[in-house]
């Protein structure tokens, strides 16, 4: 028995999403789509150098354009209080003193903001702002710079490196990955509206309204309660919406300056420089095993890029500490400051990068030992205890993911030797790799408003960035209460609603399911309280013995005799019944370790003459605890796996070290995977409840679908061709030129 003794009768959930109708018909509004009276438009001007200082800015020509209201620069913008004081700025957690410095840290850094009556006027005027600079030497070449940065221990060393220096099998390899960008469909945008001096409304694209509220509160010295943030519909994020970027304070400054609502939406090219990316990385893995393939030790070193003004670190080596048993282990890391925009969490941050190296190295070792890479992994999995903390995993079914995936792709039919299977000029290969992600949970609140007709609205400040959070909440509320799906409305993404953390790190559903369960209990108890006025036996009622339906409340000890909602409402003369509750992790986190796991299997074909890689099949089996809504969960995994295909084969935000910048800023030239690059991803779930994580028994599923995907594909390419590709993305030129 676990911490949470909940019923888990699998219930059929209706197809579709709670927000589907509103998105498809356009009646659901994304941040930039709100229509506000008297709104004007702002367009950003970015720096054209990567490092140095602004010497002069000429805004006269821009100001001459009809319709232009003002042009903000570091010389005339309204003061952001936190930027007047370094300590305050630090506390605000906003590292770019945007328009509050003449220093340039990266190319594309906002240096001016044109505000005009129309977007067209603002856009044209922005092209007329001229800036002269004093240019410094910029550091953008990660390969060159990382060699100069020392590496340091991260996490506790286990055993010793000497203990396995004579291991019968040792592999040591370096792996590299280029910069990748999030670029969700909806571009980052903010509409800022001041009400007097101290009250602010923000319509903003982000993954957490409360985070925006807190950050802006600290930056502008306004109490959080005076800041309302609306993000009802969010068109994707992949992590880029977990931070507050310069568009938010800029829109707020502009609105203050012109004393009108101001809308600022980034352009697609600006999306490539101003809202984060997955930083370029270098990793070195040394791994040793005995003659039978038992892992003896690992050294995992990692460095990745960061910006000169904002030290961002992602835990690339973390994954090596978790998935397999390594008696001896050492992990080291470093960040490499560069004159590029700030990187940030991007789907499966850290682990996704780390898994490429770890799971490639294991694969290399398997061919050294001549042991099936599937079996080698199975033999070394740490499914009982978390090797890092020693705590028992609450649940970890990664072994079952592997077995099931192997069956689905018919792993045993594969020729164990690489570069053996040919169809015409195509070489065929199979690869496997595992992914793991901590199954986190935070505290959140939710409320329910019940109407006379028994319909309810469940609400929380949490956003739904397209993951199906709202739909999952409806499914859980139905499971907990018994009220029909069509009588459960969901309201999200508004800072006036009960507080919730940002939606990220695959913690959204895990976090909010606790709050939904708690508020469902609260509703039952509130109704039981009213019912007890009619039937005293309800005084002793506990949530688990209360049953709600569309018509009323029933209680086991009262012979399940139904008291209708109608009766309760009219007897007590109620208009609505409202309850709110919070829930968060507790003692269970002391006792157990939590993880979600995924096994990726991939079948590729590689053309011998052109280097083209085609993915024939991609299977992903996931242990995500209880699957609340299979369609939504599978959709997350399949999207993540397609992201993994892009990461592996084509995505690269190229850095030009001569000109000190990212080059190319459009989706025609940045090659995320399209439908034609991906087969239908074959997703399945172990679907076993985690009884200790939260009341729903569900673990997060957003990240694991990408963690391990890259190695599975690269391993399949090796099996097909005998060529080991250790630098992502594996574009056709690299396949062609690689030696087998």
């Amino acid at each position: 028995m676990g911490f949470f003794k909940r019923k888990h009768e699998p219930k059929k959930v209706p197809e579709g999403r709670v927000e589907g109708f509103y998105k498809v018909t356009g009646s659901g509004k994304y941040a930039a789509e709100y229509k506000l009276e008297n709104v004007c438009y702002a367009v950003l001007v970015g720096s054209t150098i990567a490092a140095g200082e602004i010497v002069d800015i000429n805004t006269d020509n821009a100001k001459d354009i009809e319709g232009v209201l003002d042009v903000l620069t570091h010389r005339n913008r309204p003061q952001i209080p936190a930027f007047a004081d370094e300590a305050k700025a630090k506390r605000a957690g906003f590292s770019l003193p945007v328009l509050h410095t003449n220093k340039i840290f990266f190319r594309g850094q906002p240096v001016a903001l044109v505000i005009a009556e129309t977007l067209e006027d603002a856009n044209y005027a922005a092209s007329l702002v001229t800036v002269s600079y004093k240019t410094d030497q910029a550091k953008v070449d990660f390969d060159k710079e990382h060699a100069t940065v020392p590496i340091a221990a991260t996490g506790k060393e286990r055993g010793s490196m000497d203990a396995w220096s004579n291991a019968p099998h040792i592999r040591e390899q370096a792996y590299t990955i280029r910069n990748q960008v999030h670029n969700p469909m909806e571009m980052h945008a903010t509409i800022a509206v001041w009400d007097g001096d101290k009250k602010l409304k923000l319509y903003d694209k982000n993954q957490g309204v409360n985070n925006v509220q807190q950050t802006i509160s600290r930056l502008f010295d306004i109490p959080p309660a005076n800041i309302e943030v609306f993000s009802e519909y969010v068109g994707g994020g992949f992590g880029s919406g977990l931070k507050v970027w310069s568009n938010v304070p800029l829109a707020i400054m502009a609105a203050k300056q012109v004393n009108r609502p101001v809308k600022l939406m980034l352009t697609r090219p600006q999306m490539f420089t101003l809202v984060g990316y997955r930083p370029q990385s270098w990793q070195n893995v040394r791994i040793g095993a005995d003659a039978n393939g038992k892992f003896l030790g690992i050294l995992h070193q990692a460095k990745h890029g960061t910006s000169v003004f904002d030290n961002y670190g992602e835990g690339i080596t973390r994954i090596s500490r978790l998935v397999y048993n390594f008696g001896n282990l050492k992990t080291e890391s470093a960040t490499v400051p560069l004159n590029l925009g700030a990187p940030t969490w991007m789907r499966g941050p850290g682990d996704c990068t780390g898994a490429f190296a770890l799971e490639s190295a294991i694969d290399e070792l398997s061919y050294d030992i001549k042991k099936d890479p599937l079996q080698l992994r199975l033999d070394n999995l740490a499914v009982i205890n978390d090797p890092d903390t020693g705590k028992p995993w609450s649940t970890n079914f990664l072994n079952e993911c592997m077995t099931k995936g192997a069956e689905m792709i018919n792993w045993k039919s594969r020729n164990p030797l690489p570069a053996q299977t040919k169809e015409g000029e195509w070489m065929i290969g199979y690869g496997v790799a595992n992914g793991m992600w901590f199954a986190g949970r935070s505290k959140a609140s939710a409320s329910i408003i019940m109407q006379k007709d028994g319909s309810i609205t469940v609400q929380t400040a949490m956003t739904d960035i397209g993951t199906g959070t709202g739909t999952g909440m409806q499914n859980i509320a139905h499971l907990e209460l018994g009220i029909s799906h069509d009588k459960i409305r969901i309201k999200l993404g508004n800072s006036n609603l009960p507080a919730a953390p940002s939606q990220g790190g695959s913690t959204g559903l895990s976090t909010i399911s606790g709050a939904v369960a708690a508020v469902c209990d609260a509703l039952k108890m509130k109704l039981a309280g009213y019912a007890s006025l009619q039937d005293a036996i309800y005084k002793d009622a506990k949530p688990e013995s209360i049953v709600l339906s569309d018509s009323g409340i029933a209680y086991q000890q009262a012979g399940n005799h139904l008291i209708s909602f109608d009766k309760i409402f009219s007897k007590e003369n109620l208009q609505t019944i409202e309850v709110e509750a919070s829930s968060g992790p507790g003692e269970e986190r002391q006792k157990y370790a939590f993880c979600s796991g995924a096994s990726h299997f991939c079948k590729v074909r590689v053309h011998t003459k052109t280097g083209k890689v085609k993915i024939d099949r991609h299977v992903c089996v996931v242990d995500a605890g209880y699957v609340v809504n299979k369609l939504a969960a599978a959709n997350q995994v399949s999207g993540a796996a397609v992201g993994g295909i892009g990461m592996t084969l084509s995505e690269e935000q190229v850095v030009d070290s001569t000109h000190g910048c990212f080059i190319g800023g459009d989706l025609a030239g940045y090659h995320f995977a399209v439908n034609a690059d991906a087969p239908i991803i074959e997703v399945d779930f172990i679907n076993k409840i985690d009884p200790n994580i939260n009341p729903s028994g569900a673990k997060g599923v957003g990240e694991v679908g990408i963690i391990g995907a890259a190695a599975a594909i690269a391993n399949a390419i090796f099996h097909a061709t005998g060529k080991r590709l250790r630098d992502l993305p594996i574009t056709p030129d690299k396949v062609l030129l690689a030696k087998s």
Binding site: Y124, V654, I663, A668, V674, P732, D733, L736
Partner: protein, 325 residues
């Protein structure tokens, strides 16, 4: 975007007489409007020519005439083109996306500008965008750049797929000049190499309008193929592409056509290799030799050397595909 006025001429005569250097014709707008939004092209006047130019595909005494305003998707699905000039359809369908092809006109496709990232970023040097500012790609990122016909002034490539097929099939570009008289330019002379004025992509006379494309009848409808190698399977420009066509007599090659995209400032014909294949047996060993001849013609840049082996592979595969087409 810079403010502009929009005019809608109703005849070809009106269109050409209204055209000045500072004005631009607007067809599908899929390239021009992007360039205007990025302040790369800044016309003060747009002449919408959509109701002026032909949308017909007609059979003529010598071949086929495709109106300048035919949409790329319509041309790709046209019965006449599919039966007589399937290479054209194959090439179009490898370009852009269905949505873009639905808007893109035939003339606009010929005149689309390079996709070199330095051309697209107004804060970087580019001789094609701003004469005399230098070539950013030469010392920067050359992955997509040319391997033949380039010079230090410009290493950009022409991005079109359609044009590679038209080049292989010796099409002609039909134009009306300022005098409103119809003349034509052979396809091989239509686009140009960068020379000393890379800001010019082609030899279309100033202010002239393209009214049609003609392709002479040819025997290449049975054995032809278009192969495009790129970083993803759809919605990406070519690393290298090959239009190949063979006229066969049994196993013998009577005539061969080979052209490539992604390699030069203009659609590039491989005349030497074509000459080599003429009269030879259509087999892998001869295809390999043709690919070798082609490889010898190339001069890759620092950073895009991979295009040579890739091109060789593409030539072989495209020729092989002609036999199974």
């Amino acid at each position: 975007m810079r403010p502009f006025t929009l005019q809608k001429p109703t005849t070809i005569g009106q269109a050409v007489s209204g055209k000045k250097e500072s004005a631009q014709f607007l067809a599908g707008g899929t390239n021009l409007l992007d360039l205007m939004k990025k302040h790369i092209s800044q016309p003060d006047r747009l002449l919408d020519i959509n109701s002026v130019l032909s949308e017909k595909i007609e059979s003529t005494a010598g071949g086929i005439r495709i109106g300048a305003n035919v949409r790329n998707s319509a041309a790709a699905a046209n019965e006449l083109i599919l039966s007589k000039f399937p290479l054209v359809s194959h090439a179009i369908l490898k370009g852009a996306s269905p949505q873009i092809r639905n808007m893109a006109s035939m003339a606009g496709n010929l005149l689309q500008r390079t996709r070199c990232p330095y051309f697209y970023d107004t804060s970087l040097p580019c001789n094609k965008r701003k004469a005399g500012s230098g070539c950013g790609a030469l010392k920067g990122e050359t992955r997509m750049a040319a391997i033949v016909g380039h010079n230090p002034q410009c290493v950009a490539v022409h991005p079109s797929d359609l044009c590679i097929a038209l080049s292989a099939l010796d099409a002609r570009v039909i134009i009306n000049g300022k005098d409103n008289k119809e003349t034509s330019i052979p396809f091989k002379d239509f686009h140009k190499l960068p020379g000393t004025n890379p800001e010019k992509d082609n030899n279309l006379p100033a202010n002239a309008i393209i009214t049609a494309i003609e392709i002479p009848s040819n025997p290449f409808n049975k054995n032809c193929s278009y192969l495009k190698l790129r970083d993803r399977e759809s919605y990406a420009f070519a690393l290298v592409s090959v239009a190949a066509a063979l006229q066969l007599n049994g196993n013998r090659i009577v005539e061969a056509r080979l052209a490539s995209g992604g390699v030069a400032h203009k659609p590039w014909r491989w005349y030497e290799a074509e000459k080599f294949l003429k009269g030879k047996t259509a087999d892998l060993s001869n295809f390999k030799q043709a690919a070798e001849i082609i490889a010898r013609e190339t001069h890759p840049l620092n950073g895009n050397e991979f295009k040579v082996p890739m091109l060789k592979g593409a030539i072989e595969v495209a020729l092989q595909n002609c036999l199974t087409a």
